[in-house]
C-alpha cells in the first residue's frame, strides 16, 4: 500500500531548475511551495495538457454526437436520386401505382483498379451494356457513374460476388403500375429518376404530394371496374368499326368526378417510351375536335335558356342555307318546318343554324364562355389544350358553331358542359381525384336555369326513343343523349369520308347521375351497319354497350320497362318539378 502513503516531500530551495526536472512527476502535484520558475513551467504543462485533453474531448463530442448528422449528409446525395412517390389508388382503394425497391448499379471509378477487367466481367453478366461506351464512361474519374438502373436479384447477386472494388449498389424506388395499360392516360408515368412526367404523376409532384416523409396514398376518382369495362368495349369497337382512334369518358354529373376515361390507342406506363408516339395522345383532354351535331344540344339549351326559343318554336328547314361560299344542309333532311324538339331529334343543321342566329352572336359567345367551352379546361392532368375558335366571330360562324363546326373543344370539356345541361344547370370542373358532392358544389357555378336542364333531359330522352340515337338505348337505364357526326377538317376543307362520330349522353335521364361521351375517329361503314359510318351506327351502340356494363357497377338502379315513363309523361313531370 505504499502508493497511498504520503511521501515526505523534500523541497530543495535555491537549487534552480534541475531538481524539479529530476523529481518524479507523481510527486510534483502536491508541491505548493515550488519556486517561481518551476511554477510557471507547471502551469505551462497543465495548460498544454488541458488543451490536448480539451481537443480530444471536443473531437470526441464531435465524433459521437455529431456523427449521425454526417451520415445523413452523405445519404442526402442518394436521397436526391430516390424520389419517393405515394401510392395511387382508384376510388375503392385498389392500388394502381406503387413504389417498389430496386437495386441499381453504379461505379466509383476512382476506386476501380482495372477498368478492362470490370468492363469484361460486367458485360458477361449484363449483356445489354455496350462495352465500348462503358469503358469510355469509366475512364472518366468520378465517384458516381450509373451503370445499370434496376437489376434483377440474380444479376445483383452475381455482380456482388465478383467482389470488384469500385462497383456499388444503390437501393432505389421504382414505379410500377400493376394494372398495366388500363388507365395510362390518367395515371401518366415517371422518368428514370422516378419523377412524374405526365398525368396525375406529374400533378402530384407539382403540388408536393411526393417525396415527403408521410406519403399518404392519393385516391383517384376512377372506378377501376368501370374503367376496365369501358376500355374493353372501346377496344372491341375500335376493331369492329376499323376506327383510327376511339376515346370515351364517364363523368359524375353531381361531383364532376371522372369515373372512367380512356383514349385508344394508349400505352403501358410501365414502358412509357410509347407515350412519345403522337398517336397515343390523350384525346379526351389534350386533343381538340369539332364535335359536330352534339353541339346542337348546347345550341338548343342556349336558345331555351335565354328565351330565344321555346319547345314549341318552329324553324323552316325546307331549303338549305347559302352562306358565304358554302351551303348548310341537313343530313337527315326532312324538308319541312320543324319544331325545336324535331330539330334536335332529326339533327337538323338548318334548324340549329337558325336557332343560333335567333340567339345572336354576342349571346352565343357569352353562353359558350359561360359553359366553359371557350377557355382551356384545367384539371389535374397537365395535358390540356386551348379550344380553337374563330378570332372574328361572323354570322356564318354563329351558324356553323350552332351545329358544331368551327369551334374545336376537348371532349372532356364538352362532357363537363353536358353535365351542366342535365344536372340542373351547374357547371362543375371535372376532377380526377375523389371528391364529395359538397366539395364539388363549392366550386360549381349555375350556368343554366334548372327548367332548361329539365327540358334538355326530355329532349335527350326523346332523341333516344324516337331520334337518331335509338341504338344508344339500354333497357332499364333510361339513356338520353345526342349523336354527332362531323366531317374532319383537313387542309382542303371538310373531308366527306373522314368522320369524327360521337355520342354525348346521360343516364338515368329522369335523375341523371352520369354523363358519357364517346368519340370515334374515322370509323368505317361495315356490313353490320349497312355501310353507314354515322354516329347513330357506331358511337351510339358503343355507348349503349358501355352503359349496360358499367351502370350495375356504379349502382344505378334500373327502372323496370313497364314503369318506364313515356316521353310525353316525362315532359309533363319535368314541367311540374323542375330539377
Amino acid at each position: 500500500m505504499s502508493m497511498f502513503k504520503r511521501q515526505p516531500v523534500v523541497t530543495p530551495i535555491g537549487h534552480g531548475r534541475a531538481p524539479v526536472k529530476a523529481a518524479p512527476a507523481g510527486q510534483g502535484s502536491g508541491n505548493m511551495t515550488a519556486p517561481v520558475g518551476s511554477r510557471a513551467r507547471f502551469v505551462f504543462v497543465m495548460a498544454a495538457c488541458s488543451l490536448c485533453f480539451g481537443a480530444i474531448t471536443l473531437r470526441l463530442v464531435g465524433v459521437t454526437a455529431l456523427q449521425p448528422a454526417g451520415v445523413v449528409k452523405s445519404a442526402g446525395a442518394a436521397q436526391k436520386i430516390r424520389y419517393k412517390r405515394p401510392d395511387l389508388t382508384d376510388r375503392n382503394d385498389i392500388i394502381m401505382a406503387k413504389d417498389l425497391n430496386k437495386t441499381s448499379l453504379y461505379a466509383d471509378s476512382t476506386k476501380i483498379i482495372d477498368v478492362d477487367e470490370v468492363v469484361e466481367r460486367l458485360t458477361a453478366i449484363l449483356p445489354e451494356i455496350d462495352p465500348r461506351r462503358l469503358r469510355a464512361k469509366l475512364a472518366h474519374k468520378s465517384k458516381f457513374i450509373w451503370i445499370k438502373r434496376g437489376l434483377t436479384p440474380r444479376q445483383h447477386a452475381r455482380i456482388f460476388q465478383l467482389g470488384l472494388p469500385g462497383l456499388e449498389f444503390e437501393r432505389e424506388n421504382s414505379r410500377v403500375y400493376p394494372k398495366g395499360q388500363i388507365a395510362a392516360h390518367i395515371l401518366g408515368h415517371v422518368n428514370v429518376d422516378n419523377k412524374g412526367t405526365a398525368g396525375i404523376e406529374k400533378y402530384i409532384d407539382t403540388i408536393g404530394l411526393s417525396n415527403t416523409d408521410t406519403l399518404a396514398p392519393v385516391r383517384l376518382s376512377i372506378d377501376l371496374r368501370a374503367q376496365h369495362a369501358m376500355r374493353e368495349e372501346l377496344i372491341a369497337a375500335m376493331k369492329l368499326y376499323k376506327a383510327k382512334a376511339i376515346s370515351a369518358v364517364v363523368l359524375d354529373v353531381h361531383t364532376g368526378e371522372v369515373l372512367a376515361m380512356s383514349s385508344l390507342p394508349d400505352y403501358d406506363p410501365n414502358a412509357p417510351a410509347k407515350s412519345l408516339n403522337k398517336n397515343t395522345l390523350n384525346r379526351m383532354t389534350a386533343g381538340v375536335y369539332e364535335l359536330g351535331s352534339v353541339f346542337k344540344a348546347f345550341t338548343v339549351a342556349m336558345a331555351l335558356d335565354v328565351g330565344a326559343a321555346t319547345l314549341k318554336s318552329k324553324y323552316d328547314a325546307r331549303t338549305a342555307i347559302k352562306a358565304a361560299s358554302f351551303k348548310i344542309d341537313d343530313f337527315h333532311a326532312k324538308r319541312r318546318i320543324l319544331t325545336v324538339p324535331e330539330v334536335f331529334i332529326y339533327s337538323s343543321n338548318i334548324g340549329a343554324a337558325k336557332i343560333a342566329l335567333d340567339v345572336g352572336m354576342e349571346q352565343q359567345k357569352a353562353f359558350l364562355k359561360r359553359i366553359g367551352l371557350l377557355t382551356r379546361l384545367q384539371t389535374e392532368l397537365p395535358e390540356s389544350r386551348q379550344p380553337i375558335f374563330p378570332k372574328i366571330w361572323r354570322p356564318v360562324n354563329v351558324m356553323t358553331i350552332g351545329y358544331g363546326h368551327g369551334l374545336a373543344v376537348s371532349p372532356l370539356q364538352a362532357a363537363s358542359a353536358a353535365a351542366a345541361l342535365v344536372n340542373g344547370g351547374k357547371l362543375i370542373t371535372p376532377t380526377f381525384l375523389k371528391r364529395s358532392e359538397a366539395a364539388a358544389l363549392f366550386s360549381a357555378r349555375q350556368v343554366l336555369k334548372p327548367e332548361t336542364s329539365a327540358k334538355m333531359r326530355y329532349l335527350m330522352r326523346l332523341n333516344v326513343t324516337e331520334g337518331t340515337a335509338r341504338k344508344a338505348d339500354v333497357p332499364g337505364y333510361l339513356v338520353g343523349g345526342k349523336t354527332g357526326t362531323a366531317e374532319k377538317a383537313t387542309r382542303y376543307g371538310y373531308a366527306k369520308n373522314k368522320l369524327l362520330t360521337s355520342f354525348m349522353g346521360t343516364f338515368p335521364v329522369n335523375a341523371p347521375k352520369y354523363v358519357i361521351l364517346v368519340v370515334l375517329d374515322e370509323p368505317k361503314g361495315i356490313e353490320q351497319t349497312h355501310g353507314y359510318a354515322t354516329s347513330g351506327w357506331n358511337a351510339a351502340p358503343v355507348s349503349a354497350k358501355i352503359i349496360a356494363r358499367i351502370a350495375p357497377m356504379l349502382g344505378v338502379l334500373p327502372v323496370s320497362n313497364t314503369a318506364q315513363p313515356s316521353s310525353g309523361a316525362m315532359l309533363a313531370a319535368f314541367e311540374k318539378e323542375p330539377r
Binding site: 406503387k98 417498389l100 394494372k179 371496374r225 333497357p475 337505364y477 350495375p552
Partner: protein
C-alpha cells in the same frame, strides 16, 4: 488501519464498478446489435409487404380476373332485368297472418272446450 479499510473498500468498489460497467457496456452493445437486426427486419418486412401488395394488385388485374371467372365460374354480367326493387315485387296474393279472433276448429277447438269445462 481505518484508512486501509476505506481504501480496500474503495478499490474493491472501483473494481466491481469497472466489471459491472464492462458488462453493461457489452450488454448494451449486444442489445444495440439486436435492435439493429430487428429494425432491419422491420424494414425488410415492410418492403416485403409492399412487394406483396403490388403483386396482389397485379394478380387482381381485371383482365386476369375475367379469364379466371370465365374458367371457374358460370357467372355473366348482370342485366337490368335481374335487378328488382322491393316495391316492384308483386304483392302477396294471400294474407298469412293468423286471425286470432276466429274460433279454433277441429280437435284444437275441442281441446280448448274441454279445458274450459274443467
Amino acid at each position: 488501519m481505518f484508512l486501509k479499510v476505506v481504501n480496500t473498500v474503495l478499490v474493491t468498489a472501483t473494481l466491481a464498478g469497472a466489471v459491472y460497467l464492462y458488462n453493461v457496456k457489452y450488454e448494451v452493445a449486444a442489445y444495440r446489435t439486436h435492435l439493429k437486426t430487428l429494425e432491419n427486419q422491420v424494414v425488410a418486412e415492410g418492403e416485403a409487404i409492399n412487394d406483396l401488395n403490388a403483386e396482389w394488385s397485379y394478380l387482381n388485374r381485371p383482365e386476369r380476373l375475367k379469364v379466371l371467372a370465365g374458367r371457374y365460374l358460370a357467372l355473366e354480367p348482370v342485366h337490368a332485368e335481374q335487378i328488382v326493387t322491393m316495391e316492384n315485387l308483386p304483392g302477396r296474393t294471400r294474407d298469412f297472418s293468423p286471425d286470432l279472433s276466429a274460433p279454433l276448429g277441429g280437435y284444437a277447438g275441442i281441446g280448448s272446450a274441454t279445458s274450459r269445462i274443467q
